[in-house]
Amino acid sequence: MDNVVVRKKKNMSAPNVIFVICNTIFMIAFVVITLYPIINTLAISFNNGTDALRGGVYLWPRVWTLKNYTTVLQKDNLITGGYITVARTVIGTLLSLAANAILAFIVSRKRFLFRKELSLFWVITMYVNGGLIPTFILYKNLGLTNSFYVYVIPGMISAFNMLVIRTFMNGLPDSLEESAQLDGAGYTQIFVKIISPLCKPVYATVALFVAVGQWNSWFDAMLYNRMSSQYTTLQYELMKLLSSVTNQGNSVESMKHAAGTVTPTSVRAAATILTMLPIVCLYPFLQKYFVTGLTLGGVKE
């Protein structure tokens, strides 16, 4: 009884109170620094462009307008970029998930003859790669440049994602496979009907990693498809919009340019919000998946 009272007193002691106050301030500062730039972009995207140039738009639009968004949605290159980005995210994620899952299934079969060798073959690719130039030449020779395939074919298998799935599959009981085999099931059936349904959580994790990577990538579009505007991605178009804005700055030129109510800055804000929207809406619901994935990935063999 005495002990409890003493401990309660200790919790309320001066150093602890100071600690709690400091910690709270730190967390609030952290949240503000993280969220402010995003909320500010959101406010500017809904604000009249010419009005925003006067400054002073922080958390809430001053002169409301949807003009920035309608301007963005009328830009053909952004629309094309949007379609390509959605297509590469969906197709790329499905292909990559299937390939990594099959590979992980094979190397997690205890009886597989080349288990160690096949794992090593892929782990090496984590540390050694040809580099930018040889890869570029290879894709060019394979006819992957100036095509949609360059987004979904080359990066299909990633050793890291394979290891995440493998760790999960290794944790499943061997008896599942054995009893299925007694019932006459082949490996294909075991993979499709028995192992895969149990792997749903880890599949979701890997799909999330791949999908975010696909959605956000721009460098491959710049490097391989710069010449063919029908295959550029949303992020790459956004980058072009960004560099045009930074070059102009908030000069008189851009004021004049903004004879209407939109400016390059406000249009870019709207495009930025549209680009981040799907991810921002989805990620809070997928939290438990990526936390599991990172923890699984940290486990070494």
Partner: protein, 319 residues
């Protein structure tokens, strides 16, 4: 004694490995079929580019190809290391790599520990969810946001003017001395919450009785962090540090490419940008490849050294 050990190892391998036989091959034909396809894919997309390394030792001409071009030994490497720009580029890459590594590392651990000290479950969850958000944004968006916040009419300049720290707006992107801190800040902003996940998981795994024991001994919050939490996550800290050391030279492409401009070129260019400039823009494939090889070799050496140090000190190892 020796033979006994050998028998033991043999028994162990027998248990782990299925012995090769045609019957077994037939039984596993589906697995073997798919692994053959996957290996073929791997050879084409991951191993074939390694053959391209030969270019660095050749007077490479695209029309002659890899097999027709003449070998010129290490001439390209000599040219590379006599190029003052390349030496500066190495310095930039290393400096930004190390600064980023340390700053993101320290911030992630600090954030994980402090977040763990929040007693309100709801508050913790909200802060954590918000902290992941920037990780999911592309560098295009992050650098765009940074440009807005730091522009001469942006919020940072406004605040600095208001508190009279500055007399007139400062263009942060025009001064080389601000570039490295900016890159470090952007990395910290984007990745702190994400990198903290693994430490938070490690903290959760610490035995609660250790904290109780510390309380009984009269330890305050800070003492508990110092004597229980930090030692508890030490193995996790070591392994992530180890994994990141090999990536030091990889720390520089997207952000430097997007934030850099003519005024800060001397501090913003990294090895990857140099490779891109020589290889793609100037079309000198051999020079670009040589610079890329240098980067790969240094990375591998760094990983091996870090691993050896960890082994020597009895810490967790990568391999």
């Amino acid at each position: 004694m020796a033979s006994l050990t050998r028998v033991k190892t043999k028994a162990k391998t027998n248990e782990l490995r299925t012995r090769f036989s045609w019957k077994e091959v037939k039984r596993q034909k589906v697995l073997l079929f798919w692994s053959a396809i996957i290996v073929a894919y791997g050879i084409v997309f991951y191993y074939a580019p390694l053959a391209g390394w030969l270019m660095a030792f050749q007077d490479y001409k695209p029309k002659d190809g890899l097999f027709g071009s003449a070998f010129i030994g290490l001439a390209k490497f000599q040219r590379l290391f006599s190029d003052a720009t390349f030496l500066r580029v190495i310095r930039n890459t290393l400096a930004m790599g190390v600064i980023n590594l340390i700053s993101t590392f320290v911030m992630a651990i600090l954030f994980a520990i402090l977040l763990n000290e929040i007693k309100s479950k709801g508050g913790k969850k909200v802060v954590q969810t918000i902290s992941y958000l920037p990780h999911f944004l592309s560098w295009i968006i992050v650098t765009g946001i940074l440009h807005d916040a730091l522009s001469t009419s942006g919020i940072i300049n406004e605040l600095l003017l208001k508190f009279h720290i500055l007399e007139q707006p400062l263009n942060f992107f025009a001064h080389p001395k601000y570039f490295w801190p900016l890159v470090a800040f952007a990395n910290v902003w984007k990745e702190t919450g994400w990198n903290a996940i693994i430490y938070l998981a490690a903290i959760t795994a610490i035995d609660p009785s250790l904290y109780e024991a510390a309380s009984i001994d009269g330890a305050g919050r800070l003492a508990k962090i110092k004597y229980v939490t930090l030692p508890g996550i030490r193995p996790t800290i070591m392994i992530t540090l180890l994994m990141n050391v090999g990536n030091v030279l990889n720390a520089g492409f997207e952000i430097q490419y997007l934030l850099g401009n003519g005024l800060v070129q001397s501090v913003s260019q990294t090895i990857d940008i140099y490779v891109l400039k020589w290889g793609i823009s100037q079309g000198d494939y051999a020079m670009g490849t040589a610079a890329g090889i240098f980067k790969s070799l240094v990375s591998i050496v760094l990983i091996v050294i870090a691993n050896q140090i960890a082994k020597h000190n009895g810490e967790e190892r990568l391999f």
